[in-house]
């Protein structure tokens, strides 16, 4: 499961992304991602955790060339993504996909579920209409929806169902690597487990690799054996998930762990006699 050296799917070296704000002489540079290294093995799921604004999403977007990195090397399955000409970047998305943070804003409300999940098939695979329909139905089964959902619009689905559609779109072309940006944070806990279980099952069935972005360490613990902790654009800690959780070396990781609102808060309060 861990990335043996010869078996890396994604290798990132010295990735840096600057954003600029304002104009000379008051131009400011924001260092969103600061010289990070990252490796993902085939079939591996790596967690990327950190508080809001620490640079997690920007890291994913830079690797996927949704924004152009300021510097750094990105090798994906033998392809130098950072050197790929802009016009050819789109082709990469057959094998490298992303599930976005907020399914409400990332799904086009005017497209049916069918159009949403078949769009990547049209772009990347040369499939007949019949095959597309077949694949669309398969995707619905895989993500735990039904055939009739293909005719619905996102607004007619629940939050959990919308997130499943977002996942369905991302896996439609059977990609090798999927970035999951907070895939469960907009979901109620009653259905969060369903979506997490779906992600675990899909990974095993399709032998995909994941980069799981989250500030919820509970989610990472369930889905990833290895985790990287990001703070202020840099990776401050990295290691096997259990080890990082049981014995965080970095003070920031400790703080992040303590902050999770959980039933432990109730337990502590009860012990102090704070409940009647």
């Amino acid at each position: 499961m861990t990335s043996g050296d010869g078996d890396s799917l994604l290798t990132v070296r010295g990735l840096t992304k600057h954003f600029h704000r304002g104009f000379w002489p008051r131009r400011q540079t924001i260092v969103a991602v600061d010289n990070i290294d990252l490796r993902v093995g085939r079939g591996e799921s790596v967690g990327l955790v950190g508080e809001s604004g620490s640079g997690k999403t920007t890291t994913a977007r830079s690797i996927l060339r949704l924004v152009d990195p300021t510097s750094g090397e990105v090798d994906f399955d033998g392809i130098r993504v950072d050197q790929t000409p802009r016009a050819k970047v789109r082709r990469l998305y057959r094998n490298m996909q992303m599930v976005f943070q907020d399914p409400n804003s990332s799904l086009n409300p005017r497209m049916t579920v069918r159009d949403i999940v078949t769009e990547p098939l049209k772009l990347h695979l040369n499939m007949s209409d019949g095959d597309q329909e077949q694949r669309a139905n398969d995707i619905m089964t895989m993500v735990g929806l039904r055939g009739f959902h293909l005719d619905r619009y996102p607004g007619q689905l629940s939050g959990g169902q919308r997130q499943r559609v977002g996942i369905g779109r991302a896996i439609a072309t059977h990609p090798k690597l999927v970035f999951l940006d907070e895939p469960t944070s907009s979901l109620d806990v009653s259905v969060r487990g369903q979506v997490m279980q779906l992600l675990i099952d899909l990974q095993q069935e399709m032998d995909m690799s994941y980069v799981l972005i989250s500030h919820d360490l509970g989610v990472v613990r369930q889905l990833s054996k290895r985790v990287m902790v990001m703070f202020d654009g840099r990776i401050v800690e990295e290691g096997p998930t259990e080890q990082v959780f049981e014995d965080p070396r970095d003070g920031y990781t400790r703080r992040l762990l303590d902050a999770i609102p959980s039933m432990d808060g109730y337990r502590r309060r009860r012990q102090r006699g704070g409940t009647r």
């Binding site: 109620d188 806990v189 609102p261 502590r268 102090r272």
Partner: protein, 341 residues
């Protein structure tokens, strides 16, 4: 303990072109004076709409079917609009869900706080400014002098939430409603807001109705809790009753999902299925499609059963559930971390 607000058998629906949306079906909640009462449930379960009944701020297409909303024993649903206006000012303060959208974009934080105070008192401009600075300090804004001059769009999510709370308490209301005060914030900021609220509630002796979908937040802050599902209060009681001896399958399943998603205990668990469509509710118990204990009798509306004093559950098998061991591992973590905080 005195009960400040009591919502009894409340039922109502939204009149829409697509049909009736039955958002409030059977709500029973008691808010005790000086306590924090939680209203917990999934998105769309009717938490916000329940709370908005107290100041009678329901959307205009809402239609009452039955029930009473008692404030110190008087039914606010029967009050005149004039009396209601006065009550909204002094009686109830609300910190709305999504504070960035709820704050006024064209006035500075200081101007908004000043206006909030001056509608209630005849404070001078300077007194209002001083009060604004003091209240921002109490909600733990690091630099009140600077924040007072800022506009909503210049605030981070955590700051906007603090300002929203400050606006609601600058003239302390008899009842403070906090709608999802930690939702959408980063975990580290959530923890800060929770501890700020705890300090504020204690030092000002506020009576609070706290709305959240997160049982973790309920566990940190609430004395009593109502669990809502599809517009019904499935269970109500004090926090240790509800968390440790839940008398309703839904509460139990929710506790179990929360524990399992946090990790560490057993397998990943969630409640199969999804909440029902409010336009097309089933006969009987609304949880029947997802309930592990569903039986034929569940096709009839379950009774509200008082399983112990102050602890009620809406389920045909409330007594049986109440006598089972609860799903929370009460000592887990607490032993190791008991001394901290």
């Amino acid at each position: 303990m005195a009960v400040l607000v009591e919502i009894q058998n409340l039922e109502g629906y939204f009149d829409t072109i697509g049909g009736d949306v039955r958002a409030i079906n059977s709500v029973n909640v008691a808010i005790e004076e000086g306590k924090v009462t939680g209203l917990v449930g999934e998105t769309g379960s009717g938490k916000t709409m329940t709370a908005l009944n107290i100041p009678r701020l329901m959307p205009e297409n809402f239609r009452y079917v039955s029930g009473r909303v008692l404030f110190r024993g008087e039914d606010v649903l029967s009050w005149s609009e004039e009396r209601m206006q006065l009550f909204r000012g002094d009686g109830v303060g609300i910190a709305f869900q999504d504070p960035k959208a709820a704050l006024n974009p064209v006035f500075t934080v200081g101007e908004q706080l000043g206006r909030a105070l001056r509608t209630h008192t005849d404070a001078t401009k300077d007194e209002a400014r001083q009060a604004a600075l003091r209240i921002l300090e109490r909600v733990q804004i690091t630099d009140p002098g600077r924040t007072i001059r800022q506009y909503a769009h210049e605030l981070s999510g955590g700051m906007a939430q603090r300002v929203m709370v400050a606006l609601a308490v600058i003239h302390p209301p008899t009842l403070l409603i906090l709608d999802e005060p930690t939702t959408g914030l980063d975990v580290t900021v959530q923890a800060e807001i929770i501890s700020m609220l705890r300090d504020l509630v204690e030092s000002m002796g506020l009576t609070v109705l706290l709305i959240t979908h997160d049982l973790g937040v309920v566990g940190e802050l609430c004395d009593n809790v109502a669990v809502m599902y599809a517009g019904r209060t499935m269970e109500f009681g004090d926090i240790s009753q509800v968390f440790e001896k839940p008398a309703n399958p839904y509460t139990r399943e929710l506790l179990r999902s929360t524990e399992s998603v946090e990790g560490g205990v057993g397998d990943l668990y969630s409640i199969p299925g999804a909440p029902p469509d409010l336009r097309n509710l089933p006969q009987g118990c609304f949880f029947q499609d997802r309930c592990p204990s569903v039986a034929d009798v569940c096709r009839t509306v379950p009774p509200v059963v008082e399983v112990e004093p102050g602890h009620v559950s809406m389920c045909h098998f409330a007594e049986r559930y109440h006598s089972m061991p609860g799903p929370l591992h009460i000592t887990r973590g607490a032993e190791a971390e008991g001394g901290q905080e």
